[in-house]
Amino acid sequence: MATQQTSGSMIETHDLRRTFKTRGKAADVEAVRGVDLHVGAGQIFGFLGPNGAGKTTTLRMLATLLTPTSGEATVAGADLRRQPQRVRERIGYVPQGGSTDPAETGRGELVIQGRLYGMSKSQAVARASEVLALLDLESAADRTTSTYSGGMKRRLDVGLGIVHRPAVLFLDEPTTGLDPQARAGMWDEIRGLRAQGTTVFLTTHYLEEADALADRLAIIDHGLIVAEGTADELKRQVAGDVVTLGVDGATEHVLETVRQQSFVREATGEDGVIRLYVDRGETAVPQLLRVLDGAGLAPSSIALHRPSLDDVFLRQTGRSLRDDAAA
């Protein structure tokens, strides 16, 4: 029933903006300040950003829950501002905080959801059984959702998002709070959706999740897209290698010293951990050791690695996503 485009783009935004009015004389908050996104059909698109960067606001706009202040967007072939109703017919949205009533059964929720998308009773009942089987919820289908585990609830949330076979599925933090096994299961479900041609737009706090799942990524910060591309492209933008130094206490002093070295492109550090971006790691490490030894600042540990998405994130936003997730 959904429009399945095999090529072309499923989400296109141009200069999308959202400003929140604040009470009193404080300046209005520009949560999203001109976002351009291009998400190809059949892709898993990862959308990353620190808390308060405009991630959720963008997602809610694309899912028709929030009206953009200005800008243009096309979602699943329909104009977001002029045809929100048509967008709703073609998208699924899985909110972060759950979406089910504890007094309703899993099957009951899926049936009403199907009917709200216009299915007849028999269609909705048949589709509910299909989705329950797909998400391995058959044995719990007729229990109320109050008895479900966190992982089961999240699978049912996803099921509610795909009942009507949407062309685009929005997933807000789909694995937050899940144990590693449930997370791995969710990754399989998401890949399975892509295999069936669904375009998946997901936000996540976990960089390994974005790395493992997403065909393309965008990082938003302060309401603007600061980086976009495949995970490999983004990692290549962080030129060279990363050296991580463990230092005991003298973080500032070590930072000062290494920044004076011509082979160090950039250095950041806090709490006894210093990250250096260097052109050639294999020559930088011995040089570094010599310099620090000479200054009487021998590191307690040293490691050399290729840039990870965390390095990309740190470079682009000045914050570590891990710290943010823990906060």
Binding site: R88, T100, I112, Q113
Partner: protein, 252 residues
Amino acid sequence: MKLIRDTWLMYRRSLILTLRQPVWVAMGLFQPILYLILFAPLLEGATSTAGASASAFNWFVPGLLILTAFFAAFFAGFGLVAEIRYGVVERMRVTPMSRFAMLAGRSLRDVTILLAQSSLLILVAIPFGLELDPLGALLTLGIVALVGLTFSLLSYTLALVTKSEDALAPIAQAVTLPLLLLSGIMLPMALAPDWLQTLSTLNPLTHAVDAARALFNGLWADPQIVVGSVVMGTLALISLVIAARAFARTTA
């Protein structure tokens, strides 16, 4: 038609989910039954002093029905706050379903439950000495439905705006008690000093109560029937517009 279909789906779902927790439906009857047993007998003396002709129960029960409708309806918003917290409201807002149906289905559920509770309450009152005029009782339920509809709509609007029980509870308290005291449900307003009677006529609930009493006892010539019906009908319509706009606009 889509609106009717969506309203029916929403109505059916919310009614089934409410009936799965029958404790709450029963709880709604607990308070009025206490009034019936522990308060109404006190009125026997009071009403005769005020010169009311009907028996205490025939005088008190119509007001009690309005009181029950008023309180139950005001609590409807708490249920919606819970549904907002579960994420159910947001989930449905992303579907193509009619925004108005989300509201209408829930309000119709409230009125249905209210009418069942009211009918039960009337039956319970008969052994205590209530004299029943079936047509009058039926028409009284019409007023009860209007009161329930009006205040459940307003309660939903407040729930959408505040999104929190903590904000809803004090507002409900601040509104319900003065309206209740000024309505003449507990004692005849004829006993009140002039200034209090004047204040009482400004309370829409007073007119609902007066109309309900006249209807229930078959006093067809009483002008309060028309006044009460028009006041509550108008108020229900205004509440409907306010609540529908809140539902259409909200980002819950």
